[in-house]
């Protein structure tokens, strides 16, 4: 066989072996065996001396090409095998993504506190301070300073838990108004505050009553505070809480510590005002009470009512949450069944 034919044959078998290799090791062996110093190609080239001189360059080129082609075939096969191995590994590592997660559950903030904080954040954005109050309060602040003297018929509207003749469980967060007004330095600007907290009434607990519940009081005292300011503020609040499309309306009402007094309705967020079960087919839902602070209340706190005016409002977080989330039994807020609590994860 001529050297030429030998090389061609080696090329054929070498490429063939490379293509058929199943392991990287085989390819490595093949490379060493075929292309190494002791390999058949090198061996074959030893016969070059027998080749006529003028043919030598041709054979040399052929031999280099053969080496190169086998080398390429081995590398190509190596790439294939590597690719196959990666694919196989990926295959093996595939997981069932529908299996449950390794849970790292966060707790759920109580829905009433979520509701309160949402309202707090809204008012903080409007420059209101959040003032805490006392749960045990003096009759003086809870009633007298709110224009509700002893024997006032309005005291019938809220039966009170007394500790002594002068101390009671506050029945309303409005009790904070007097304290904040007398503490405020009006030379430093207006008083804008909200005061959220727990209040207590002598009520039997049932689906709509609880002897303990929450309120959030708001108070703004400045020169030129008007009913229009009250309406604009509550309009913005109701839109924040119940949706940007909401309208509000005022209805005349009576509270001893505001004059004029109003009850505030928000257009039904469920039916948009057309009428449904939630709004009792009126299109409106009562959400809070408000008014301009009664001149007597300002004067008792040492504020000249001919110079300053004020508005105040009070709302019930339970009522807000019941409306917003369809809670039908106020007791659910206080029995703390975790299945009830956890459904409100992240709603606010």
């Amino acid at each position: 066989m001529s050297l030429n034919d030998k090389l061609k044959k080696l090329r054929e078998s070498g490429i063939d072996d490379a293509k058929r290799a199943e392991h990287l090791q085989e390819l490595n062996d093949l490379r060493v065996n075929l292309l190494g110093k002791k390999g058949p190609i090198t061996q074959a080239l030893r016969g070059m001396k027998d080749v006529p001189k003028e043919e030598r360059p041709e054979i040399g080129t052929l031999a280099n090409n053969v080496k190169k082609e086998i080398q390429e075939a081995i590398e190509a096969r190596m790439n294939d095998l590597n690719k196959r191995m990666v694919e196989q590994k990926l295959q093996e590592e595939t997981v069932d993504v529908t299996l449950p997660a390794q849970s790292h559950e966060l707790g759920t903030k109580h829905i009433l506190n979520q509701t309160v904080e949402d309202i707090e954040q809204f008012f903080i954005g409007l420059g209101y301070e959040v003032a805490p109050g006392y749960e045990v309060e003096e009759d003086h602040y809870n009633f007298e300073r709110l224009n509700i003297p002893k024997d006032h018929p309005a005291r019938d509207m809220q039966d009170t838990f007394y500790l002594t003749n002068e101390l009671l469980m506050r029945t309303q967060t409005s009790a904070q108004e007097g304290r904040d007004m007398e503490a405020h330095d009006f030379s430093k600007g207006p008083l804008k505050m909200i005061s959220p907290g727990v209040v207590y009434r002598r009520d039997d607990d049932d689906a709509t009553h609880s002897h303990q519940f929450h309120q959030l009081e708001g108070l703004v005292v400045d020169k030129n505070i008007s009913m229009a300011d009250l309406k604009g503020t509550l309009e913005a609040l109701c839109r924040h809480v119940f949706g940007a499309e909401r309208e509000i309306r005022f209805r005349p009402s009576f509270f001893p510590f505001t004059e004029p007094s109003v009850e505030v309705d928000v257009s039904c967020f469920n039916c948009g005002g057309k009428g449904c079960r939630i709004c009792k087919y009126t299109g409106w839902i009562e959400v809070l009470g408000a008014g301009l602070t009664h001149p007597n209340v300002l004067e008792m706190s040492g504020i000249d009512h001919t110079v300053y005016s004020a508005f105040a409002f009070g709302l019930g977080p339970e009522r807000f949450a019941m409306l917003k989330y369809g809670v039908t039994d106020i007791r659910d807020f206080y029995t703390n069944d975790v299945r009830f609590l956890e459904q409100f994860k992240g709603v606010n």
């Binding site: 959040v130 018929p153 229009a228 309406k231």
Partner: protein, 802 residues
């Protein structure tokens, strides 16, 4: 009060249906709801009974022949015991509709044809207690002749529509038809017109014999009476009766009914007495004396006290003033001469008496909230006129004055500009004056200043703010455009303690604990069970139930209740907390301090069985981990020490630690005592409770940033055998004390006692981590420290290093 449209029409044009009116009145004045009577009634006519015969096959049924305005009388079988020939009655014809979907059909009753039904008022939906007594158990009989076949529903007033006004305490002026007419009139810009009551001059005589003696002058501002002679007591005409039962008042007789009618008309309670039953025709208004009793119609007697204002005669109580008449001088069918009273009693006194004796009603409700003292005389005149018009009397006395207070209009001065500024609108003076006129007030204007005269019927109005309310509600709140306060910018935000609380709660939430809110009023056991602050209990003066009698001294009882509630419902794995106040009452004080606390409770598994995990129940160290993480977030440089305690009664004596800072206990962690757990039906539960106020007081540390170390650390493991009573805390403390400058951390990786370990001993394993932030540590340096550590442990705690 329910405002009848049929009645209101006497004063005002009524141009809208009740639904529309109720809605508008709600928006401009008083919360109102529409009421439509008799919507479920039809086929009711007047029947004239012309023959009554017993039913041949019944001992209690009668066969009545009844004219009902048709060609022939119809036969109706009737079982009422008061049915009689000649009566004018209510007939529900064949096909008539009655309440609750009842339909009347002709048919046979025990073989006799019955063409309809003769009805009682209660069968038409009038509540039995408002049906005249003699017709409560039977059919209703019209008091006078009526046209057979006439519409009975209309005659009985059961076709009326009403606006039910739910008044606020300040609007008692609308507790009478006249006041309501002013209110609805102002709403629709109609001025009501009223007929002035007048008495036939020829009948008026001088008072010669009646003496009024007002002793309790501070509680009676007006007390006027008139006497009337020779009255005939009968039942009232139908037009009075129907207006009363539609007002939920039972018709009694023409005299009592007339008094009640005037109360509804004017809002002023009127009382009538049998003059001949008064001792010496004398009346005294005074505080009740010992032995005074209020005799009620049902035969019961109520003992009266010195706090009760009473009307007496000859030492006998005729009534609790402004609340309830006694049966003593009641007007009955025998009464010939009467005394009619119109008065104003002190509202507070009336309210308290009515509450004390549980006798609140139409009369006390009005006095409590106030009545118009400008209408006392007029309403008395009206009552007398009405009685005279029903039962032509012989004579009427002049007005006899016990006491009278001059009724004068209230003058409110205001500035138009100020009123506008408080409303936030710009009404012209003319617009403002027009609204004031619409309300029936009169105003004088002088430039920016107005002076408004308020009639006595609006005694609730005293100051400019009241006037503003009237103007703005009639102007219409819907026309008010919202603005935001335009004063100086203010900086809003939470108080520092509240910011701090928010941080603590967010840590517990991130530790997977659900937030709860529990009651602050708890029972005696609960308040004592975790009184770890050893405070005096604070008790309500008048608790409603034993469950809510004391102010809590710990948040833990509430959490345990929650766990029991949840575990009873199959929610076994619970991790909850509460942030709230507890009440700490110092000796000798009434008012408890309100301390901010935070507490948590964990029960059941902290890790659940799953496809790739196995479950783990909570232990002390899980809860300690939560607490430590929370304390870390307080950003305090204080050292929190955990020391075992067996001094908290309802906690496990071997699994409880006080947490303290510089010897001051700020809280505790512990497992509930097994007995307590079984008493309260909870599984193994760990709790913690921390005083947030104390935490807040601890100094905040100023964080000075350091670069992360660039040199590697070296770890040595230490395994020791040590007596069981030595705590790991003691060991770790000692390791740090002897570990040199480069010991930065000690982590326990093993705690073992049991087989292979001598009893009374335990094996502990620690990783000790050494690091020099500025240089590479050498083995020699570490080895030296490690030896010091071991030597110290051996000499101090007699440990065996393994």
């Amino acid at each position: 009060m329910k405002i009848s449209m049929n009645w209101l029409k006497e004063y005002l044009p009524v141009e809208h249906n009740v639904e529309e009116i109720a809605n508008k009145v709600s928006l401009t004045g008083i919360e109102s709801a529409p009421v439509e009577l008799g919507t479920d009634l039809s086929g009711l006519v007047v029947g004239h009974i012309i023959d009554v015969k017993p039913h041949p096959d019944s001992d209690h049924l009668n066969l009545c022949q009844v004219e009902i305005g048709e060609k022939e009388p119809v036969q109706i079988v009737c079982g009422a015991s008061n049915v009689a020939n000649g009566q004018y009655v209510i007939v529900a014809k064949n096909g008539a509709n009655l309440p609750a979907g009842k339909v009347i059909k002709s048919g046979e009753i025990r073989g006799q044809l019955s063409n309809g039904m003769i009805c009682g008022l209660d069968e038409l939906g009038v509540k039995e207690k408002f049906v005249p007594k003699e017709f409560q158990k039977g059919i209703y009989v019209f008091p006078a002749e009526e046209q057979p076949g006439a519409d009975a529903k209309e005659l009985l007033g059961l076709n009326d529509t009403m606006v039910d006004m739910d008044i606020t305490p300040n609007r008692a002026d609308t507790l009478g038809m006249r006041g309501a007419a002013w209110e609805i009139g102002a709403t629709y810009d109609h001025k009501p017109s009223f007929t002035k009551p007048e008495i036939a001059e020829s009948k008026v005589v001088k008072n010669n014999d009646v003496k009024i003696n007002i002793k309790a002058k501070d509680l009676v501002t007006d007390y006027l009476v008139r006497t009337m002679s020779n009255v005939t007591v009968t039942e009232s005409p139908l037009w009075i009766q129907r207006r009363l039962w539609n007002q939920d008042i039972q018709p009694v007789n023409n005299i009592v009914d007339a008094a009640n009618y005037v109360m509804i008309e004017f809002g002023e309670p009127i009382q009538v007495y049998d003059l001949d039953k008064l001792t010496d025709k004398e009346i005294t208004v005074e505080m009740a004396a010992e032995g005074h009793k209020l005799e009620l119609n049902d035969g019961n007697k109520k003992d009266l006290s010195h706090d009760d204002l009473v009307i007496t005669s000859g030492g006998q109580a005729l009534g609790l003033a402004g609340v309830q008449k006694s049966s003593v001088a009641e007007v009955t069918s025998d009464t010939k001469n009467i005394l009619v009273e119109s008065a104003v009693f002190d509202g507070t006194s009336v309210r308290k008496a009515a509450q004390r004796h549980d006798l609140r009603g139409n009369v006390s409700n009005r006095f409590e909230k106030g009545v118009d003292n400008g209408a006392v005389s007029e309403s008395l005149t009206r009552a007398v006129q009405l009685i005279d018009s029903i039962t032509n009397v012989e004579s009427i006395s002049q007005e006899i004055v016990g006491v009278q207070t001059k009724a004068e209009p209230i003058i409110i001065d205001g500035k138009i500009s100020h009123i506008n500024s408080l409303m936030g609108i710009e009404l012209s003076p003319e617009e403002m004056l027009k609204i004031i006129d619409r309300l029936g007030f009169t105003a004088e204007r002088n430039g920016d200043e107005i002076s408004v005269s308020i009639p006595t019927r609006r005694w609730d109005m005293t100051i400019e703010a009241d006037l503003i309310e009237e103007i703005i509600r009639i102007f219409g709140y819907d026309n008010l455009k919202g603005t935001l306060p335009s004063g100086h910018e203010t900086r809003g935000g939470y108080t520092p303690i509240r910011e701090f609380i928010n941080k603590l709660t967010s840590v517990l939430l991130s530790e997977g604990m659900d937030e709860t809110i529990n009651f602050a009023l708890i029972n005696k056991h609960e308040v004592e069970d975790f009184n770890t602050i050893h405070t005096n209990l604070t008790r309500l003066l008048h608790p409603m139930t034993e469950d809510h009698e004391y102010l809590r001294t710990s948040l833990v009882p509430g959490l345990i209740k929650d766990i029991a509630y949840n575990q009873a419902r199959g929610n076994d794995n619970i991790s909850i907390f509460e942030q709230g106040r507890i009440f700490d009452r110092k000796e000798g004080t009434d008012r408890p301090e309100e301390l901010e606390y935070i507490a948590g409770a964990v029960s059941g598994n902290v890790l659940e069985d799953s496809w790739n995990t196995t479950s783990k129940t909570v232990d002390f160290y899980d809860v300690k981990g939560i607490v430590e993480e929370m304390l870390m977030f307080t950003n305090s440089d204080a050292e929190f020490e955990y020391s075992a305690t067996d001094q908290i009664p309802n906690l496990h004596p071997g699994q409880t630690a006080n947490i303290s800072v510089d010897g001051d206990v700020i809280g505790y962690i512990g497992k509930l005592h097994p007995n307590y757990q079984s008493d309260h039906n909870v599984a193994d539960t760990y709790v913690f409770e921390i005083n947030v106020d104390k935490l807040f007081e601890l100094s905040r540390k100023q964080v000075q940033a350091k670069s992360a170390p660039k040199y590697p650390s070296i770890t040595r493991d230490l395994a020791i055998l040590v007596g069981k009573n030595i705590s790991s805390g003691q060991i770790v403390k000692d390791i740090f004390e002897n570990g040199g400058d480069y010991l930065i951390d000690v982590n326990i990786f093993d705690v073992y006692q049991g087989s292979n370990i001598e009893s009374g001993f335990k094996s502990l394993g620690y990783h000790l981590i050494f690091q020099n932030a500025n240089d590479t540590l050498t083995d020699e340096t570490v080895e030296k420290s490690f030896t010091n550590i071991k030597n110290s442990l051996v000499s101090k705690f007699n440990v065996e290093v393994r």
